[in-house]
Symmetry: C2
Subunit: 199 residues, 2 copies
């Protein structure tokens, strides 16, 4: 399935084609492609070049490791994401390595890294679905994640699959029109909340 | 100037070419291109499709508005970013519209939106430099930013310029090699901190 964004303007093809599927094809992601995704993430910008992102990765080639990672998802995500050939936890180091001070940009910078990863995935014909619904304490225990490192997000990765194979409620969500707020609700000029007057 | 990432693997050209310049060419960004950047940001993924990102934009075509936004940067950024033809503040709504509850993914999702914006910029020959150094309380006052909305980042946008025109210390930083942590320091398998064994 393809599910391109219904954009008002011709944004770059990779950005237009990116979407977050729940249906994944039963096709493995080879190691070369997987490494390329993290290489893309690695070159994101970050505050003071701290690179606070960390990732835990499991693939279906190692069923036990994959099941362990799936067990850290909330039930509502586990029911579809368990079929994704690759599962990832996105973590963030909450302090700067150089001085131990709090890094308020950790979550933001993980977002930049995952933006890169998503676009690289799209370029390879893969798709990525990020999930806020993670059992954070369980993940911390399973992977011995130390204090000072946040469990931020989970990511399902694979080739997009056939939504008809999803449970009915999820298929409906997969086929629902994609919507976004209009630009005038998010881009302001003189004051917060006042649309920027475009010339 | 071009300053591509010195990647270990052939990531997508847009990701490889993206970098954060301090030197901008004295060339305006036309309104069509600018709108396209925010259209790209708009189509990012977000937690519950909340789209918590908000932007305040000023261009050099309106010198007063541009100076007002520049006045919200910390001095270390103002000295070079004032020359960027477009300045933006990146804000985040900290609660979900549907129920008023805290949205822990606001900063992360602004990162995703700015990842999209950066890649669209690269595709147009533009470059983006994000800055954590913002005078947050001043920005809040100048733009009447309400409680519950965070001032997260500032963004300089323009066509890359000649680093030789920068002050000497900034030119040196602009020409310094680009570095990142190796993948084994950020991608783990069985436990946090243990590199994933790749097959």
């Amino acid at each position: 399935m393809e599910n391109p964004a219904n954009t008002d303007l011709p944004i770059h093809e990779l950005l237009r084609r990116r979407y977050s599927p729940r249906a994944f094809a039963p096709r493995a992601v080879d190691e070369g492609a997987l490494t390329l995704l993290f290489e893309a993430a690695r070159w994101a910008a970050s505050c003071m070049n701290e690179q606070p992102w960390r990732f835990i990765v499991a693939t279906q080639e190692e069923p036990e490791a994959h099941a362990r990672l799936a067990s850290c998802l909330v039930e509502g995500n586990r029911r579809w994401a368990s079929a994704a050939p690759v599962l990832v936890l996105g973590l963030g180091v909450e302090t700067f390595a150089r001085n131990g001070k709090a890094n308020p940009h950790t979550w933001h910078d993980l977002g930049l890294a995952l933006g890169n990863l998503s676009l690289q995935a799209t370029a390879l014909g893969l798709a990525v679905h990020m999930m806020a619904g993670v059992e954070r304490e369980r993940a911390r225990e399973v992977y011995a994640i130390p204090e000072g490192v946040s469990v931020i997000t989970a990511i399902a990765i694979g080739y997009p699959g056939d939504p008809a194979l999803l449970p009915e409620d999820l298929e409906a969500r997969e086929r629902a029109p994609r919507v976004r707020r209009p630009l005038d609700e998010v881009v302001f000029g003189e004051r917060f909340g006042e649309p920027r007057s475009r010339r």
